[in-house]
């Protein structure tokens, strides 16, 4: 691994990459960006996971983080709602500004901050409770007590992910009784119920069959009218199908970014070219 990183650095001047990034970023910065990441570094004792990440994320678009496994996409995604806090061995520094607030600052109201973002992980993790309670969970954490309100929200959100008709007769049964595809949609519904503005999705279809994948992808296309979606994937075709903006990462750095038609069809850097050919 180390050797590969080395060849990359010697084969390509890192200065030119950062310059490239800066030019692209200058074009990219618009008033519509909801998330802006400045100088984000994530380190462990053994090395860097993310190196000096700078990124602007525009509103109501699907942003795809692309790259080989181990390149830091998932870490970047989880830094956005500070799930990196769970791993005490990680040292995170830099700024992540969401709606004008730096979420890295201490004393943040983490709960409220995280509720602005829904999370979909690589495989569905329903909470150890019933289908109904899974969707109601975030609402109860928000302090909503009205049963009527909760019931309404459960129904609306299950309908949005197309699950209502499948589960309306067994809302009380454990969430684990659903199929994996259904569970992933349940997790989406559960995330939507707390009314986020951003959806963080970490290879949400990697454990799913083609049909469930299609459902989730179509949902994303609908949802982007109201939500900013940040999607991690290593499936090129998925990136092409969904992305409005692609960010290619390699060993903890952003190498290239831009519209999928531009960068995936005419890659500028050698690394991305190689990745597009080899897959990894």
């Amino acid at each position: 691994m180390k050797q590969m990183a080395f060849t990359y650095q010697s084969g390509l001047s890192s200065e030119s990459v950062t310059l490239q990034n800066k030019i692209e970023m200058a074009e990219e910065i618009k008033d519509t960006s909801v998330i802006s990441i400045k100088n984000l570094n994530v380190k462990t004792k053994d090395g860097d996971i993310l190196k000096n990440i700078n990124l602007q994320i525009p509103k109501n678009k699907i942003i795809v983080l692309l790259g080989p496994s181990g390149c830091g996409k998932t870490t970047l995604l989880k830094s956005l709602n500070r799930l990196t806090d769970l791993h005490k061995e990680l040292k995170v520094s830099g700024q992540i500004i969401i709606d004008g607030q730096d979420i890295m600052k201490a004393g943040q109201n983490l709960s409220a901050m995280r509720q602005r973002m829904g999370l979909l992980s690589q495989r569905p993790f329903p909470l150890p409770a019933s289908i109904y309670k899974n969707v109601a969970y975030g609402l109860k954490l928000k302090g909503i007590r009205s049963k009527k309100l909760i019931a309404h929200s459960v129904e609306t959100n299950l309908k949005r992910v197309g699950l209502w008709n499948e589960v309306k007769d067994r809302l009380k049964s454990p969430a684990t009784s659903l199929s994996i595809g259904q569970q992933q949609r349940l997790c989406l519904a559960r995330g939507l119920a707390v009314k986020p503005t951003i959806i963080l999705a970490d290879e949400p279809t990697s454990a799913l069959d083609p049909i469930s994948t299609k459902i989730i992808e179509n949902l994303f296309k609908d949802l982007k009218q109201h939500y900013t979606i940040i999607l991690v994937t290593h499936v090129l075709r998925q990136a092409l199908r969904l992305a409005d903006h692609v960010v290619f990462m390699y060993y903890g750095e952003i190498i290239e970014q831009g519209h999928p038609d531009d960068i995936l069809k005419n890659p500028k850097t050698a690394i991305l070219k190689k990745y597009l050919v080899d897959g990894n």
Binding site: L83, L86, Q115, F125, A129, C187
Partner: protein
């Protein structure tokens, strides 16, 4: 050559199979052996008499095990009450709140402490807990005590159970996927709410099993308890009085058991009782774990 290889193969095969069968037969033989030795007593007295009578006069041929059973249950429950919450919260702290480094340091320490012989725990009990009970705890509650008491037995047992239960609880909490914790947090749970809703709920069967196995261990522990519990026949609710648990009865009287008729049978019956109760508890909770591990 080929024949020699085949011969070794089948011989070793027999040896391997034999080893396994012997091990699996151990509990059966223990049951039969103890029953065989306890039979004379069981022929003369009914089981309910033995378990529910508190008349213990071996010289007169009266064997009521109630005081011993009572003492055993008492110290076990005491040990459980003292150690279970401590272990639960310590395991939560070590796996959920603290840095990974503390856990990495604690795991081998816990392992090593679990291997310390019970007689050493007993020595510690005599040096620390017995004087503590007689000098501070009992006077504080307005009681007098020699220190050799049910409470001392309970405390020493509790300390002995800590490495054992803590180890199991840490293992249970480690099996809970990080993704589930992330799901709860990302929906707005605080760190403790996540622990409450995910760690404790998802780990519940494991927690119960760890507690159950801890109880079984405490129930059968002998030497350490024997050293601090006082060994006096008593049915008392006061933790400051001495007690006489079943294992202590067996260990204390092996010397004279051949001189009184049926006394050896009585001790073997006590061992049989311990064996059956603990085997049932163990089988039950192990089954519970095996079941839940699959889900």
């Amino acid at each position: 050559m080929n024949r020699k290889r085949r011969l070794t193969d089948s011989l070793v095969n027999i040896w391997m199979r034999g080893g396994l069968y012997i091990i699996l037969a151990i509990p059966v033989f223990i049951g039969i052996g103890l029953y065989w030795k306890a039979a004379p007593l069981l022929n003369e007295h009914s089981l309910t008499d033995l378990i529910f009578s508190s008349k213990w006069f071996p010289m007169k041929g009266e064997f009521g095990f109630l005081p011993f059973i009572f003492s055993s249950v008492y110290v076990t429950l005491l040990a459980f009450i003292l150690s279970a919450p401590l272990c639960l919260f310590a395991a939560i702290y070590l796996t959920q709140f603290s840095k990974r480094r503390l856990l990495n340091f604690m795991l081998p320490v816990i392992d090593i402490l679990a291997g310390i012989p019970s007689v050493v725990y007993g020595v510690w009990g005599i040096l620390v807990i017995v004087p503590l009970v007689s000098g501070s705890i009992a006077p504080f509650f307005g009681a007098t005590s020699s220190g050799y008491s049910l409470l001392a037995g309970g405390i020493v047992l509790a300390v002995m159970c800590i490495p054992y239960m803590l180890n199991m609880l840490i293992e249970v909490f480690h099996t809970i996927p990080v993704g589930m914790k992330e799901a709860s947090l990302s929906l707005g749970a605080t760190h403790w709410e996540m622990v409450k809703h995910v760690i404790i709920r998802k780990g519940f069967p494991g927690i119960i099993s760890a507690f159950g196995l801890g109880i079984a261990k405490a129930f059968g522990e002998t030497i350490a308890v024997l050293m601090v519990v006082g060994n006096t026949l008593n049915i008392t609710l006061s933790p400051f009085k001495a007690g006489y648990p079943l294992p202590a009865l067996i260990a204390n009287n092996y010397g004279e058991m051949m001189s009184i008729p049926d006394y050896d049978s009585a001790l073997m019956f006590a061992a049989l009782l311990l064996f059956v109760v603990i085997l049932i508890i163990n089988l039950f909770f192990r089954y519970f774990i095996h079941k839940t591990e699959k889900i």
